[in-house]
Structure formats: structure tokens, C-alpha cells
């Protein structure tokens, strides 16, 4: 499968509420269906995640203006994330703006969105559900 950008809408408890994919590795074009899903699921929506399968662990200028538009339409700040084969960054709403963080403990759905994007899912997860180390008995 050729690399392609994929978008997940994430709800509480890291539930994947909805997804769609592009045919391009560098763009996820505007789609009324994506907006319709955001609006329909807005009460449960926590985060919008998308991939940059060719790399580029940062929000693009297109991402920035889309996030501005979405937050203004919804009347609240969402959480946003970008996932690449190398890592994950997340934009977290704060009282006076937001902050961007690198994510070390990836949510369970990250390998899934990477596979859907046509790239290797990366190393094993380090989440509370699959600890990297365990106590010796």
C-alpha cells in the first residue's frame, strides 16, 4: 500500500469514533463528510489525529488554519495530534492558549493509524496497558 494521510476522530477513553483516509501521502483534502462527522460527534470528541506518513513531526500551516477554524466553529478547543513513523506530537488546550508536547506513551490506536497510512507501526507501545518493564518476582 502506498503511504497516505489518515485522520482519526478520538473520543473519551481513546475510542476511535470515526476515520477517513486520503489517497495522497502529503495531504488530506477538505471533505464535508469529515466536518459532518466532527459536528455529529462533537459532544464525545476529544481529539483529532492525523498522520504525516512521509515524516514532518510538526503541524503544517494547513493544519494550523484548520485547527483555528474548527475550534471557532465548535466553540471550544480540541486536542490535536500528528503522528509520523518517528513519533507523535500533541497540541493540548490550556486556559490561555495551548502547548505542543511530544508523546512518549503512545495511545493504543497509534500503530493502527500508522498501518492504515501504509507505514511501519514502529516499536512496541509503552502504555499503562503494556508496560515496557515489569517487576522481577
Amino acid at each position: 500500500m502506498n503511504p497516505r494521510e489518515v485522520c482519526f476522530l478520538i473520543g473519551v477513553d481513546d475510542t476511535v469514533l470515526w476515520s477517513d483516509a486520503s489517497s495522497s501521502p502529503i495531504a488530506l483534502p477538505d471533505a464535508r463528510e469529515r466536518w459532518a462527522a466532527v459536528w455529529r460527534l462533537r459532544d464525545r470528541l476529544v481529539e483529532i489525529a492525523h498522520t504525516h506518513p512521509l515524516g514532518g513531526l510538526q503541524f503544517s500551516s494547513e493544519d494550523e488554519t484548520t485547527m483555528l477554524a474548527l475550534d471557532s466553529a465548535l466553540g471550544r478547543q480540541l486536542r490535536y495530534s500528528v503522528i509520523t513513523p518517528e513519533g507523535m506530537i500533541v497540541r493540548i488546550p490550556e486556559a490561555d492558549g495551548y502547548r505542543d508536547d511530544s508523546v512518549v506513551s503512545r495511545p493504543w490506536w497509534v500503530p493502527l493509524i500508522l498501518v492504515a497510512s501504509g507505514v511501519e507501526p514502529g516499536p512496541p507501545l509503552r502504555t499503562p496497558y503494556s508496560p515496557a518493564t515489569s517487576k522481577e518476582s
Binding site: 494521510e5 515524516g55 488554519t65
Partner: protein
């Protein structure tokens, strides 16, 4: 003529007066700022709405089963990776 629906600040509201269905997106965005500022959209009155509040919004034009044209002013939702920035500028 068409009905204009505006989504902003957590609300999705129809402007009660029909507008010209031949208007360009730029004009619709400008009209939306004016009618939201003036309180002509029920439940969506923001006197201090920024001039460029809808700059990153697009207009969907859909026809109802009854043949009525509805125009939806809603946020754009594309994403793209930094390497694609130049490509976006070329096609916009």
C-alpha cells in the same frame, strides 16, 4: 435565492432571510460577519466578532429533496504535512 446556515461558537443556525444564491464564498463570509455582529442570526449575536472570523471557512451548497438551495458556512477541515505546504499554495 438560498438559505444560509452558519456554524460558529458551537451553534449551527439558519439566517432567517434568504440570500442571493450566486454569491461567491468571499461575499458569503463577509455577509456572515455582518449578520452575526448585528444580531440578525437567532441565538448567534457576537457584536465584537472579528472581521476575519470566517477566513478559514468554506461554503457547501446543497439542494434539499424539495429543490431548495442551502448554503452551509462551515470550517474547512483539510490537513497536510509540512512538505505539502508548497503544493497547497499551488492549488488554492
Amino acid at each position: 435565492m438560498a438559505i444560509l446556515n452558519i456554524t460558529y461558537d458551537g451553534m449551527s443556525v439558519d439566517y432567517p432571510r434568504k440570500i442571493n444564491d450566486g454569491l461567491a464564498d468571499l461575499d458569503i463570509r463577509r455577509i456572515a460577519v455582518e449578520v452575526v455582529r448585528s444580531g440578525e442570526v437567532p441565538g448567534l449575536h457576537i457584536a465584537g466578532l472579528a472581521e476575519r472570523a470566517f477566513d478559514h471557512y468554506v461554503v457547501d451548497r446543497l439542494r434539499t429533496p424539495q429543490g431548495e438551495l442551502r448554503m452551509y458556512l462551515r470550517p474547512k477541515v483539510p490537513f497536510g504535512e509540512p512538505a505539502g505546504d508548497e503544493a497547497f499554495r499551488c492549488v488554492s
